[in-house]
């Protein structure tokens, strides 16, 4: 092998130890999420219970069952919440990374094309019109999901099929978001109860997690993450710009359309399931980028695990930071995310020197 042909590998290909480390982080976060709360259940006990539940013949892998109370706390109360956290965090991080690749803009986030405003309007309609000012579980998420998708499609249509580049789309996104936000404000005039419920819902929380709720968003998230991750190689090509990647044979408009559609679908499902959780979609892909380089083949897969673990840990903090109360998880993601980001930034700078 010539040095050059060997040289085509480092810096772009995903390595096994990257994936193992990222997956381990997500697993540890999940265990912490199951263990920590008002009642502390030791991680060892949870691992023992898992081992006991795995039957191989009569061997329970040396595990022991937990007490019944602990079992209800861990598997009935906390597990759906942890699973939803993993799903929402992973999806938002992948969607954010994908948006950054499509727009070739490190500041792009999953809410760029009006998803936040659309979900906000959808939730407001559900709360004001359907619920008469109150939040109806099961209805609000559907409206938020639909609103988010309507907003993205509206952005797409406003920009026009002949949109010359991502800038037009971003501008269209801003226009659509302003419009939707205005309509939302108008609807909220009806009652102060509605305002409170809408904001409470939008601030985001994993508290309402149920297995059936999770089952209803999982398909969208799986499709979204799968499409984004399999397009990672194409996002790498797109990093030389639209004109040049077209000259290399990339169907730029098709790639852009598919990736935006997939990322938006995932982000809409995430918002429907857990409200507007900011920062995950920006900070996680960035941290990954600073640690392992610019290739989307690395960024997207590792962001999936990183985002999943990050959001579960943020949720743990949201639960325990203030006794007898819960913080909105969006507040925690920002408070936790910024120092972490600064740390990564500095470590990176030192290494570059």
């Amino acid at each position: 092998m010539s040095p050059a042909s060997r040289g085509a590998r480092p810096g772009s290909a995903l390595r096994a130890w990257h994936v193992l480390a990222a997956a381990a982080f997500a697993c540890v976060a999940a265990l912490v999420g199951l263990s920590v709360g008002a009642v502390h259940v030791p991680i060892a006990a949870i691992l023992g219970d898992i081992a006991w539940r795995i039957h191989i013949g009569r061997d329970h892998l040396g595990g022991q069952p937990m007490g019944q109370v602990d079992s209800v706390i861990v598997w009935t109360l906390r597990a759906p919440r942890v699973v939803l956290g993993l799903l929402v965090g992973g999806t938002l991080a992948v969607a954010g990374g994908a948006y950054q690749g499509v727009f070739r803009n490190p500041l792009a986030d999953p809410y760029l094309l009006g998803i936040a405003a659309g979900a906000g309007l959808g939730a407001t309609i559900a709360i004001v019109v359907i619920g008469g000012g109150a939040n109806t579980p099961g209805v609000t998420p559907i409206f938020a999901f639909a609103g988010a998708l309507v907003a993205v499609v509206a952005t797409w249509l406003v920009a026009g099929r002949g949109a010359t580049g991502p800038t037009t789309l971003i501008l269209a996104g801003i226009a659509v978001a302003s419009m939707f936000a205005a309509v939302q404000t108008l609807l909220q005039q009806s009652s102060s109860l509605a305002v409170r419920n809408v904001y409470y819902w939008l601030l985001g929380s994993l508290a309402g997690a149920t297995w059936s709720g999770i089952a209803s968003v999982v398909p969208y998230m799986v499709v979204s993450v799968a499409v984004c991750i399999s397009s990672a190689r194409l996002l790498d090509v797109l990093s030389v710009g639209e004109l040049e990647s077209a000259s290399l044979g990339l169907p730029v408009v098709a790639v852009r359309t598919i990736v935006i559609a997939a990322a938006s679908l995932g982000a809409a499902a995430a918002v429907a399931a857990a409200g507007l959780i900011g920062f995950v979609g920006i900070v996680v892909p960035h941290a990954v980028r600073l640690l392992v380089g610019v290739s989307y083949r690395r960024i997207l897969v590792l962001s999936m695990f990183g985002g999943a673990g990050f959001l579960v840990l943020a949720d743990v903090l949201a639960r325990i930071a203030v006794p007898d109360a819960e913080l909105p998880i969006g507040v925690v993601t920002a408070i936790l995310g910024v120092p972490f980001f600064v740390l990564v930034l500095h470590v990176r700078r030192l290494r570059l020197r």
Binding site: A4, S5, A8, P10, S12, S230, G241, S247, V294
Partner: protein
């Protein structure tokens, strides 16, 4: 034999203004044609249209016998490779990875690169004396090295036609020559056709078989360098006095009127 590029009555308009107005030209396999002309003449538009990178309003562009209109992106990219005037240099990408991007057209879109792709990249990197830089980040390269990397990316496309838009922009004399020598050598050894634009008329005459002078969207003269680079022609279309001196059969264009006496 089909020609590498055939452009017939090509018209490109923006609003009412014609950027290109009925341009026709043919480039044979192995031929080097350089398009010259004053700023705003339509050189870049012509190059982009020939590489299938912009829509056209009339006429046809044919690449190795295939009408550009019916070509998918990847099929087109295996018939024409393009070197931009100011390439986008992605941060943090190594030279080897960057050059490997040129192989996109040679495999299904979602497929990983094959050992053959890597072998092609390795061969081009060593021909262009870039193998020592394979692991360097593209954005840390000097201007000359970077331009060679961009040319390398175009060469691994293995297209019969190489289109270069002002490939010497921002380079010093030695690196200008270096890049053009690389292209000349590839043309000789691989028999590829080359279409370039160049501002430097002397360099243009030195490296091309044929020059086409474009002015206001029309081709006003095509031919051997000595036929196109004449004092009268250049005065008419560039609007300045120049002196053309013959040095061993190559016309050298000296700005300014012929010294008296």
């Amino acid at each position: 034999m089909t020609s590498a590029l055939e452009v017939t009555s090509l018209t490109v308009r923006v609003g009412d203004r014609a950027l290109l107005d009925g341009v026709s030209l043919t480039v044979q396999q192995g031929e080097w044609l350089t398009v010259i002309g004053p700023n705003g003449a339509g050189k870049t538009t012509l190059v982009h249209a020939a590489a299938g990178l912009r829509g056209i309003d009339g006429g046809t562009v044919t690449l190795s016998g295939h009408d550009l209109k019916g070509l998918k992106d990847r099929a087109r990219a295996s018939l024409v490779a393009y070197v931009p005037q100011s390439p986008v240099v992605p941060e943090g990408m190594s030279v080897a990875e960057y050059v490997l991007l040129g192989r996109v057209a040679h495999r299904p879109l979602l497929r990983a690169e094959t050992p053959h792709d890597r072998a092609v990249v390795g061969a081009v990197l060593s021909r262009l004396e870039l193998d020592g830089l394979a692991q360097r980040s593209v954005h840390t390269l000097s201007g000359g090295e970077r331009q060679r990397a961009v040319v390398a990316r175009a060469l691994v496309q293995e297209a019969p036609l190489l289109v270069l838009d002002e490939p010497t922009t921002g380079l010093d004399l030695r690196h200008q020559l270096e890049v053009l020598e690389v292209v000349a050598e590839e043309r000789r050894s691989r028999h590829i056709a080359v279409v370039s634009t160049l501002h430097d008329l002397t360099l243009a005459g030195r490296f091309a078989d044929r020059l086409c002078l474009l002015d206001a969207g029309r081709i006003v003269r095509c031919g051997a360098p000595a036929e196109v680079l004449t004092e009268a022609t250049l005065r008419t279309h560039y609007g300045v006095e120049v002196t053309v001196v013959d040095v061993d059969g190559t016309p050298v264009v000296v700005p300014g009127p012929r010294a008296r006496g």
